[in-house]
Symmetry: C2
Subunit: 109 residues, 2 copies
DNA sequence: CATATCTATCGCAATATTACGATTAAATTC
DNA sequence: GAATTTAATCGTAATATTGCGATAGATATG
């Protein structure tokens, strides 16, 4: 065990859960927010900005890249990361869609 | 290691990451969606609805309860769960706020 | 009160995540 | 081409998560 039983859920449920997971770490939230703030792309100064080791930042960047949220383009010896607007919108829409489904009919418990 | 370094992030970042984590599992997404659908509160028929063992469902319910997203009231021998509208709105607002921060200035990488 | 029903909790096994030092790989600079 | 800079990857340790059987606790029903 320790293995999520994805077979028993719908694709949408699995996908949404994975999207949440991609952002379910303060470092990844911080990275995204830094990318938003310094709108021009940012490279490895994330290591200085956050207080984590280079290997750790690189790992989080990899997860965000796997999630599709960010892109990295090589620029000389460093790598320039930025948010993928298209995927960002997909995330936003998926989250909006999830949260809008519940209307407070406050007649419960 | 294996321990998130929460000290180096802001409260908001930690909180948002934790909110994401609460929903970062398809079973918890499915539970919430089932609670929305059967708007009247639902009890342990979640065990039948999803294909997970009773102990596992109970654990996920506990996490959702810890996250504040759901409430449970004892009703005879079973427990009736429902979404907490107030916390739901907090989540919705926090997520909206996060996603709205990025405006596509498509002049990047 | 004995029995049945439903849920929470315990204990365990398997896997995943987080973090980092060390190393490797690629590109620039001298 | 050697040295430097930057980022990715490997390997490892510590902790967290997922899932479930078994058990315990609480409430109803006979």
């Amino acid at each position: 065990m320790g293995l999520t039983k994805t077979e028993i859920f719908t694709d949408k449920q699995n996908k949404l859960a994975q999207m949440m997971k991609a952002l379910a770490h303060p470092a990844r939230i911080a990275i995204i927010q830094h990318l938003i703030k310094t709108q021009a792309c940012v490279c490895g100064d994330l290591v200085e900005e956050l207080g984590l080791a280079q290997a750790t930042i690189s790992q989080h960047l990899k997860e965000l890249k796997n999630a599709g949220l960010i892109q990295g383009t090589i620029e000389g010896t460093s790598v320039c990361y930025c948010i993928d607007p298209k995927v960002w919108k997909q995330y936003k829409d998926a989250f909006d869609n999830f949260f809008v489904a519940y209307k407070n009919k406050d007649g419960c418990c």
